[in-house]
Amino acid sequence: MSQSQDGTGGLVSVPALLHRNAKEFGGAPAYREKEFGIWQCWNWAEAEREIESLALGLLNLGVNEGDFIAIIGRNRPHLYWSMVAAQMVGAVPVPLYQDAVAEEMAYVLGHCGARVAIVGDQEQVDKVIEVKDQLTEFEHLIYLDPRGLRKYDHTHLHRYSHIQEQGHAARDELTPELRAREAKLNFDSRCVMLYTSGTTGKPKGVVLSNRNVIESARYSSAFDKLGRGEDVLAYLPMAWVGDFIFSIGQSFWTGFCVNCPENAETMMQDLREIGPTYFFAPPRVFENLLTTVMIRMEDAGSLKKRMFDRYMAVARRVGPKILDGKPVGFGDRLQYWIGNLLVYGPLKNTMGFSRVRVGYTAGEAIGPEIFEFYRSLGINLKQLYGQTEATVFITAHPDGEVRADTVGVPSPGVELKIGENGEVFYRSPGVFVEYYKNPESTASTKDAEGWVATGDAGFIEEDTGHLRIIDRAKDVGKMADGSLFAPKYVENKLKFYPNILEAVVFGNGRDECTAFINIDLSAVGNWAERNNIGYASYQELARHPKVMEMIQGHVEEVNRSVAEDPMLAGCQVHRFVVLHKELDADDGEMTRTRKVRRRIVEEKYHDIITALYDGSKEVSTVTEVTYEDGRKGSIRATLEIRDAKVMPVQHAMAAE
């Protein structure tokens, strides 16, 4: 421990970092928020004053050490300050998702026994008041935006600025107490508690210590050479660990400025105005941006469109290489330079990416074309693999080694190992302390030596050291010959084709893999229209020989790409069928969030699966369907089963 404390120069808490920043570069911008059409700015010295006033106000309110303080609202400087003020008085901030409904909040507030909540506006106040009676320990509610709240009963409701004023007024009496509490903070104190979104079961409160947060911030800032000059846009939920690390951890560690958008709708304009140098977004944001660009290009004049197409082709060819510092011929460089002047530069400016030095995407798989599009423009977009339990960082792409199919190399300070079943385990200074009030879950996730199970299956590429995530560990199985079976890996590859809406791959414990495929009616329908292919129904379109041919082409391409990977080459799809109906949540085949329920699909279509494995050329089937009004009916169909070409498997490399 002493070793790592030396690494941070004795700065063992976020408030300590705040004081250092205010002292060493108090005049540098710490926070900006767009309000009333202008970017309002607070420098580090001002931020320190604001935070201290609030902390004194919290003391004045009777907040004890070890209390939990819930923070709910959209990204605003004041709410970030609330978190640090809570830490200053020895309390633990618990940011909540602002779009959570009242009952979800009730669970979290009750579970941590929060005594105080600091919220953004009337909407959040209403939600907390709604559930207040279920909470035994809850006392004070502090709000930021007074709008619409004038007539509320203010016995336990306080305005943020009033709390600050009261704290400031009582500063003479309370400052010694505040300093004493701050002095008690150390590397092992709780820094923050974040609730995991909990797709299964109740959310769990992940406790992160100062060590977790500060060490992770320190290592990751060094990894990407982040400095005081960075600008980030804080627009992702405050309850998400990533936002906490970027907007508090790394910001306080390196001293860079956090910019808060005016509101959710203005985010894209604000992004453009700020032009962040360090940017983070889930794949969805990048996809939407790309779609907007493409739609606007469709509407552009022919000259612009031709120019765009021509220079995008150049960018796709040489852009990523230039970004990675690989050798590129002079002619290509010149063309890329012209392209940058005419197309890429203005385009990046429109998207707000002119200054991006480091961009990350994480959370789910990003389509390789989308990834390549941004990289070809010269935007250094990289992938990150992380978890709340790891204080974000497990692996990340180092500059110059970025590939769409891996999630990068272990972040500094992180050790990785692959379990027997292919599950990824890690150990790092960022490993969480515990799940709050849940020792069983803590024990089942983190072992005595500090290794944490991710729940994801993956492997480390031998030559590059990159980690590749293939699937959720519970879905991964073994083929009959013992090689790895990772259905989601193949399904994702199939689904990257716009024509394929959904794919389900089978093969656990069998000799070869087969697949169900759902066509995407809008994409394939559009294609059919352009190619004068008439069809009357989904079923008819799905079984059209030309559609079958097209899908077969996609499957074979996927097979080629899967075969490149010796460990997964066994997962190539040998036979497939295009289903006569879309998999549907109403029929129980999918969850409401559109995840395939494998087991139910297997049971329901067992006759088709049998046909896929017994070599028959077609299969007749009757399927029960539920209409949207709840009535049941059935569809009869005869489906053609096709064989897809597979690549030979190179077994030699797969051997351990």
Binding site: E35, F36, G37, I38, R147, G148, R150, K151, E262, N263, E265, T266, Q269
Partner: protein, 272 residues
């Protein structure tokens, strides 16, 4: 009816003050057509006052009398305890009465921000030369006016369309921009001519919330014309009912709802 000369307190605890505007025996004729016939009512400080009635009842004409667009043929308009002489609409606006229109009247080619800024025009005192040269008073005024405009934009949650030309906006948002322009004038009385016309349920709910918030936050007195009875009954403190240019009812929503003449006017009975 209870005595309300000194104002009253509403059920939800809002304090309503004394009379700020009073219409005394207003009659309005267009040639031989009598649009408004001998109507009297008052508007109190801080209240939401609705004028309702079937099509052609004379509601918009009444609003136009209040806003100074029409000069009544007979009768008097008393504002803040003084009898108002015949005035041009801009003079009325300078007195602190702002309005929105039934068929949106915005500058379509200008941005939302510029439209809202036009609401501040009545407050500008600098000369045209000083504005053109951007010197002295004009500069300080512009900053102050922009501040007010931005507060209104923030209040009505239209930040995301600040720079968008109004012509590109959907109908519901245009209505909101119009309200913003009226609010930018920081009016004492805000006149709304069918603020919910042509809106869907969600937009109506939003608009209701904004009207209530305006009244609550700024204490603005609001007089509105509206067709949607549900909205009127929920929003307003007192309601004037007109039919064929005459006043047939006046009172709280409950009183009006149970008024026989009002029911007849809305459900329709044969007119002699």
């Amino acid at each position: 009816m209870k005595d309300m000369s000194e104002g009253y307190v509403t059920e939800d605890g809002r304090k309503i003050g004394g009379v700020v505007m009073e219409m005394k025996n207003i009659t309005l004729r267009f040639g031989g057509v009598v649009a408004i016939q001998d109507i009297s009512f008052d508007i109190r400080e801080g209240e939401i006052r609705a004028i309702i009635g079937p099509n052609g009842a004379g509601k918009s004409s009444m609003l136009n009398v209040i806003s100074g667009f029409y000069v009544p043929s007979e009768g008097e308009v008393w504002y803040k305890g003084e009898k108002r002489p015949p005035m041009r609409p801009y003079q009325v606006a300078q007195q602190g009465i702002a309005r929105t229109f039934q068929n949106i009247a915005l500058f379509e080619g200008m941005s939302v921000l510029d439209n809202v800024m036009t609401g501040r025009l009545t407050q500008m005192k600098s000369s045209i030369f000083s504005q053109a040269l951007w010197k002295g008073r004009a500069e300080a005024e512009e900053v102050a006016n922009r501040e007010v405009a931005e507060k209104v934009i923030d209040f009505l949650e239209i930040q995301h369309i600040r720079k968008t030309p109004v012509g590109r906006l959907p109908y519901g948002l245009k209505k909101r921009v119009e309200l913003a322009r009226a609010l930018a004038a920081e009016p004492t009385i805000l006149l709304l001519d069918e603020p919910m016309a042509g809106m869907n349920v969600e937009e109506k709910e939003d608009m209701c919330r904004f009207i209530l918030d305006v009244n609550d936050e700024f204490g603005t007195t609001i007089a509105l014309i509206e067709h949607d009875m549900g909205v009127v009954m929920d929003l307003s403190d007192r309601v004037v009912v007109m039919d064929y240019g005459k006043k047939i009812g006046d009172g709280s929503p409950d009183e009006v709802r149970n008024n026989k003449e009002v029911i007849d006017a809305y459900l329709g009975v044969a007119h002699d």
